[in-house]
Amino acid sequence: MAYSDKVIDHYNNPRNVGQLDKSSESVGTGLVGAPECGDVMRLQIRVNPETQVIEEAKFKTFGCGSAIASSSLATEWVKGKTVSEAMEIKNTDIVKELSLPPVKIHCSVLAEDAIRAAIGDWKKKNAVGEAAAVAAN
């Protein structure tokens, strides 16, 4: 099975690889994994507390090319979005963008889970419930 050009591009030139300060108030960290293939994915976001815009996103993934490409794309997509906009990103969007074959769909699911986990972590740190998020608007 061949990887799509977009997967190969993200694999060879992954965007936003790295790490943000996990202990920072404005940083949310999501760590997710798929035991069957041994993949682990860490995705981090830095959120502007005033605007709730994700200003920075970093990832580090141990896994196959599709897992790396999915998380690389996820960091590109969340940057510049508000937290609630980022929650709208679906794994199926990643599948479409990267032309992932059915056997690699779980990589996109992992990336979506990572986004949600990172946002969840940030919300927990900042005590942002749904009500508080609405009040802030």
Binding site: M1, Y3, Y11, L31, V32, G33, A34, P35, E36, C37, G38, V40, R42, K60, F62, G63, C64, G65, N91, P102, V103, I105, H106, S108, V109, D113
Partner: protein
């Protein structure tokens, strides 16, 4: 009889591997009986017996033989047997190559501390690989990995002991028709098999790096 089987080729859902060998859905099985059953059924399906039969019947015997082989291999291996039983019992045991999977299935199934551990070890492995590529061998890093190797082997051993206890508990729950106990064991076994997959993957990579000969590629499985 045979035409009936032919009509249901696509779905082998009606007869489980356990049914094929007339075994109960238990995790401690009589391996001698399994083997006897396998040889007996294999003889009955031997292609020579079908040499003069119609093409359809020959094809049927071939399909049955391959099904029988799958069943035997699965039940013979205790871990594969466990994964198969959990799948039969409606638990989601995804493997990477299953196409018709429900992508939402296993969200948040992996415990956070295991993920942290796996992530950290992968970081060390990566560093060690990078060093080795540069022709350096950092003794401190190598020491860390060797300790990790010992630790992960011990974890695997103790996990397998837990698994054996879970098999006994499952079988007892089956005998007692205790659904609550069965469900408890099912959840526990899914978690154990997940952990086992991670540990085995990690161990394989640690072994690979520690026995590095310069020819081992980076992890980039297609």
């Amino acid at each position: 009889m045979q035409s009936h089987v032919q009509n249901s080729t696509a779905s082998d859902g009606e007869q489980t591997y356990f049914d094929m060998f007339s075994l109960p859905r238990k995790l401690t099985i009589d391996t001698a009986a399994l083997e006897r059953g396998f040889y007996k059924l294999s003889r009955q399906l031997h292609p020579d017996l079908y040499a003069r039969k119609s093409a359809a019947e020959q094809a049927w015997s071939l399909r049955q033989s391959s099904l029988l082989n799958d069943a035997y291999r699965t039940l013979k291996d205790p871990v594969a047997r466990t994964a198969y039983l959990l799948k039969l019992e409606g638990m989601r045991m995804e493997d990477e190559n299953t196409e018709n999977r429900d992508p939402r299935a296993k969200q948040n199934r992996v415990p956070a501390d295991l993920l942290e551990e796996v992530f950290e070890l992968n970081m060390q492995l990566e560093e060690m690989r990078a060093n080795l590529k540069m022709g350096e061998d950092d003794p401190a890093l190598r020491g860390d990995l060797e300790r990790a190797q010992v630790q992960f082997k011990a974890m695997l051993t103790s996990l397998d002991e837990d698994l054996r206890r879970a098999w006994a508990a499952w079988d007892a729950a089956m005998d007692a028709s205790d659904d609550a106990a069965k469900n408890e064991q099912k959840d526990a076994m899914v978690a154990m098999l997940d952990r086992r997959s991670y540990l085995r993957n990690l161990l394989r990579e640690v072994d690979g790096v520690l026995t590095w000969q310069g020819a081992v590629g980076e992890k980039a499985n297609i």
